[in-house]
């Protein structure tokens, strides 16, 4: 298996800035600071050297500042997100955001070509979250079209066990990942995975080897220390970005074959950490809710098929985590005993 080094070379004004994000090779041209700095910060997150052989999927992104919103708002027929609506077009997709930024993506045989138009209102209103939304669309579109399913979940590996841990946003994926890493598991990431298949066998690949930690996590995991002095990594969260390798050397992994699905919950009043098995129908139903399924028949069929195959070969588990459960050193003994 060939390893492609992750690359990141921001623009030096002589040419496009280039990035890798999983199987994608992105080139970005256009507007200057602060938009390019945000793009650089966002795309630099994807620091995993892509471990799968094959040609890169090429994504060209050109950006420009415009005085006003360039056209009618999209209706959201393809995708409806909090700050963004996306419609399918004849040869790709078109997205608009709440303040009128526009992303037009044209689908090519081995990549996409995007034009992002950023209105003055977005810049002056400091609405950079909407550029992050457009970048998220650029990335997820490329990942899906190159044959991978983006999954909102954490990935862990120990021996021949590959674990996907899922929860709602803020539901404890990162804390669980840290707690498992401290017990000897290796992490593929805490909330972004790609799922696919190699020679018919499901595989999950990490995208970012950093954790998005709440500054309060140091109370449970003392080696993290005080994160409050660091800057939050995004405009919509208080979390701080921490390198897994720097904090826990040797505890990162880039890919694994999934064997177990863990669905995390934090029931009110629950004490300690408990684990119970799920039926395949239950775990499939939960896994299908960890990805975005656009209103596109072919894409939807591919995504559902991939996730169902993964869930069909995995054991499913419900893990309920009580308040401050990680304070106890043996809190995850029962989980490890079941999983290993």
């Amino acid at each position: 298996m060939r390893s492609i080094p992750a690359s990141r070379s921001p623009s030096d004004h002589a040419g496009p800035a280039r990035y890798r994000a999983g199987p994608l090779e992105l080139s970005v041209t256009g507007v200057g600071r602060p938009a390019l700095e945000l793009i650089d910060r966002t795309l630099a997150l994807y620091d995993v050297a892509w471990p799968i052989a094959g040609p890169a999927w090429r994504v060209e992104v050109s950006t420009r500042l415009v005085p006003e919103a360039p056209g009618e708002p999209a209706e959201g027929r393809y995708l409806a997100a909090a700050q963004m609506r996306v419609d399918a077009t004849v040869d790709g997709v078109r997205a608009t955001t709440a303040v009128g930024a526009e992303g037009v993506g044209r689908f090519l045989d081995s990549g996409e070509r995007w034009k992002l138009s950023l209105p003055r209102a977005m810049v002056e209103g400091d609405r950079w979250i909407e550029l992050e939304d457009l970048l998220s669309l650029v990335l997820t579109t490329g990942w899906r079209r190159s044959g991978w399913v983006p999954l909102h979940g954490a990935g862990l590996l120990r021996g021949d066990r590959g674990l996907i841990a899922c929860a709602q946003s803020g539901g404890g994926k990162t804390s669980f990942t840290v707690a498992m890493v401290r017990r000897g598991w290796r992490a593929l990431g805490d909330d972004k995975l790609l799922l696919g298949a190699m020679s018919g066998t499901p595989v999950m690949v990490g995208l970012a080897q950093t954790l998005n930690l709440d500054p309060g996590a140091g109370a449970w995991f003392p080696e993290i220390g005080d994160l409050s002095a660091q800057a939050a990594y995004s405009s919509f969260t208080e979390k701080r970005r921490v390198s897994i390798e720097r904090m826990w050397p040797g505890r990162v992994a880039s890919q694994a074959c999934p064997t177990d699905l863990v669905f995390l919950d934090r029931p009110v009043g629950h004490r300690g950490i408990t684990i119970r098995p799920l039926t395949q129908v239950e775990s499939s139903s939960l896994l299908l809710r960890q990805t975005v399924i656009p209103n596109d028949r072919a894409l939807a069929r591919d995504i559902i098929g991939c996730l169902w195959r993964v869930s069909a070969r995995c054991r499913g588990w419900q893990v309920d985590v009580g308040h401050d459960a990680y304070l106890a050193a043996d809190a995850l003994d029962a989980v490890d005993a079941v999983l290993l």
Partner: protein, 140 residues
């Protein structure tokens, strides 16, 4: 864990129906999963439920579905189950009416069992956090 078809619901008449274009079918080892891209509900079908449902890809009636099921080896007591499956497809809004019966022959299921369809209790979110995160936005 989901809604199964109503056993005492109305039995569909001789009208013809076809699966709506925004209903996506993913064939599994032992049946199929339908996703209604409009309502965002998932439906799980066993292998015979999927065989019967497939007849509606080109448009047909409950009477034709019953006739095909008999030809596939369905016992007479399962006629009601086939009609109820068709009724569920109508009630769940997965099919729409068409003029003509395409009289499809369909694919013979590996072995006959009473057809079932189950709707997952919760639909997918219509509005999500972002293109990556399927969580419901806090403002929704």
């Amino acid at each position: 864990m989901g809604d199964t078809l109503a056993m005492d619901g109305p039995v569909p008449d001789g009208r013809c129906y076809v699966l709506r274009p925004d209903v996506v079918a993913t064939v599994l080892d032992h049946g199929a999963l339908l996703l209604d891209l409009e309502s965002k509900y998932f439906f799980q079908l066993n292998s015979t439920g999927w065989a019967v449902t497939q007849l509606f890809e080109s448009g047909t009636s409950a009477d034709t579905a019953v006739a095909r099921s008999r030809a596939w080896g369905a016992p007479s007591e399962d006629e009601a189950a086939v009609r109820q499956l068709v009724g569920a497809l109508i009630d769940f809004g997965l099919v729409e009416e068409v003029e003509a019966d395409a009289a499809p022959t369909g694919e013979v299921p590996a072995g006959w069992q009473t057809p079932t369809i189950e709707r997952q209790p919760q639909p997918l979110q219509r509005v999500i956090m972002s293109a990556f995160d399927p969580s419901i936005p806090l403002a929704e």
